[in-house]
Symmetry: none
Subunit: 402 residues, 2 copies
């Protein structure tokens, strides 16, 4: 599909603003959802003038992680393009990945006489864990010709990246987790699952040996267990596919990392939504496409904080007039998945979306809510169709066939 | 999908009337679309009693040409069945194509010392161009055992058909355009892109040599450039697939040509919508399926003439009672794509459709408009699903499985 789109792309000087309110969709509590309850006059007015609908990131009933959710938003089939856990972990910890990298989630563990006593090394505090990881990194920068990059994480977790000097073939990181998922067992030995994985397996084995040697005098964190050993996928480039010079505006490292994976510019950025908008304005003339990510709505949903989620929707609404003053040719506001506060987690529910351009019907929805979006002109559709729709509304797709 | 349908088809004596109002869907101007504004009491009454919805010819965001739009209406996946430009051009100029034909779009051009001075030979007037083409045809009827058919076009354009005596393998017309798309260059030489294209390449080379030799004394049109060299696709036959003896009723040659490609009867016909209806009535007892094509609604849309498009919808509405007096078992009224007057072109917007048979819910839409069709029982669906729906409503599909 993306190759089909690429052949139809034509360039012009339009601007597309794609705002992701993470975890946007919700469920009723006392009959009304977070979007029903939120006082959000600007979003509601925009919805009335927009093409509205609901989109399904992966498939009906499937709850997407943040990776699949965002890939789908950018038009990448999230089942075809599965990003390994190690890669997502490394991105989330702020490592800039390259195509020759293998990324791994690592746990500190406690091992006695070769048997795992504690898979999480007593959940050692984050500051202790950080110190150990920094010490390990200081001692270990290379294994043979492979660069080693470690990033401290929360509690017993960290991420490791093995940066190979050469491109790796598909299947090069097909190695089972060394974590047996149960205490009282031995760590799973390193066994390549494909013939192509031999090179990486050798380096991983040396990696474990060197690290555990360095850890041998630690009281609890005296071993490591590896999970989600993963190659960086050789994914289609966003700009090559859509002809859009694109900027990611996000304060959380994982979203910037995902954006960089597909070739977006994603400079480091700190602060809140106001800082994101300032950054958008500063860079507005230099890009065609802006992915602006708003995190906190999801965070309150995950906490089961219904009122908190409502308040973050309301806060975003106050910023909307300022954003609209930029007069983008196409603006899309949606989420990467639903996070109903009543579920305290991501969910499978279709995600409300509004798309405003000069070329929509509009006047089908009274508010920007789940129930109103059902009445919209976009219907209920697969999330991967949003990008072609954005391009069409920007006049950036040629006619197909004569 | 079509092979799946074919196995379920059963015949009976029902009649299906499939009316295509070319470019039907629109967009608001001052808040109301062409269908909102049009005074069309009969269409609105029929919509109230019908199953309504909106269909997407190719994919969300994709603007279809007339070829893909109609193929989708007839149940052919327009991405799988791509009809080459040369074939569409020849069909549009009224040539009846056969399966052993290769069709080519040809430009008259001006060449000096082997370099293209003007890719369009100064856009020579149509009547001059026609005379030259007729002279060429008189001189050249055959190259070896291959029949040559030329059809004059507008200005510098004409179509050429090479009718081979034998069936050609797939890929037999894979030859690059000889038009380099820029003045100041030499024409692109004929190079077969596949091993199967050798035979056609040889004939095309001789074709260019003979024609340019005949043109050498012309002041401007002294050369030809070829584009869209294309084989007639070996496409599934409509009647074999659906068990419907079918008649195309269209005054524009391209639509008849497309219908003939899939094996419909499509006799030449001139006049207006009234002439089409007279023709429908005359032939009503001899066919099961009628594709009736109304062109002018699209033409006004393409011109950006909102009021003109409205008037043509209203004109069609006055004919509707007469059409309904035939009491077809299933009547479908829709378009092959949207052509909003505000866009002055085909567009990607879903196309309104109504389907009336004794077996619909009905009473979901108040009028035949884009916004009302969103509320309809058919939802928003891929255009290729219309034919199975038409057959089902005609009692022409058996149950699938026990």
């Amino acid at each position: 599909m993306q190759e089909f789109i690429r052949d139809l792309v034509q360039k012009n000087d339009t601007k597309i603003l794609f705002i992701v309110l993470d975890g946007l969709g919700g469920l009723p509590f006392d009959g009304r959802t977070e979007l029903d309850v939120a006082d959000k006059p600007h979003l509601d007015a925009l919805a009335r003038a927009s093409a509205c609908g609901l989109h399904i990131p992966v498939a009906m009933g499937i709850t997407p992680g943040s990776g699949p959710g965002h890939l789908a938003l950018f038009g990448y089939d999230p089942v075809e393009w599965q990003i390994g856990r190690g890669v997502l972990e490394a991105l989330g910890l702020g490592i800039e990945l390259r195509k020759t990298d293998v990324a791994i989630r690592v746990n500190y563990a406690t091992v006695e006489n070769g048997i795992i006593k504690d898979r999480r090394a007593g959940r050692i505090p984050t500051d202790q864990s950080r110190k150990i990881t920094e010490k390990l990194q200081a001692k270990l920068q290379k294994i043979d010709d492979v660069e080693v990059i470690l990033a401290p994480g929360m509690e017993h977790r960290f991420a490791a990246v093995l940066r190979f000097p050469e491109p790796l073939p598909p299947g090069a990181a097909s190695i089972k987790d060394t974590d047996p998922q149960k205490e009282g067992k031995e760590p799973v030995p390193i066994i390549p699952q494909t013939p192509q994985a031999g090179r990486v397996a050798q380096i991983v084995e040396k990696f474990i040996a060197k690290i555990t040697d360095d850890l041998k005098n630690e009281p609890t964190a005296n071993f490591i267990l590896l999970r989600g050993i993963a190659q960086v996928p050789d994914i289609l480039h966003f700009e090559e596919t859509y002809g859009l010079k694109s900027l990611c505006i996000a304060v959380y490292p994982m979203y910037r990392g995902l954006a960089r994976l597909i070739g977006m510019d994603a400079p480091a950025l700190q602060g809140d939504v106001q800082d994101e908008i300032d950054f958008l304005k500063k860079n507005y003339h230099d890009y065609d496409f802006f992915f602006l990510h708003v995190k906190k709505i999801d965070s309150y949903g995950e906490d089961g904080n219904f009122k908190g989620k409502v308040s973050k929707i309301e806060e975003f609404d106050t910023f909307l007039p300022d954003i609209l003053s930029l007069k983008p040719d196409v603006i899309i506001i949606t989420g990467d998945h639903s996070t109903p506060a009543v579920l305290k987690s991501h969910s499978w529910h279709p995600v409300p979306v509004l798309l405003k351009s000069p070329y929509v019907l509009g006047q089908t929805c009274q508010m920007f809510t789940e129930r109103e979006c059902i009445k919209g002109e976009l219907g209920i559709f697969p999330t991967v169709n949003l990008m072609p729709l954005a391009l069409a509304n920007a006049g950036r797709l040629k006619k197909f066939g004569a």
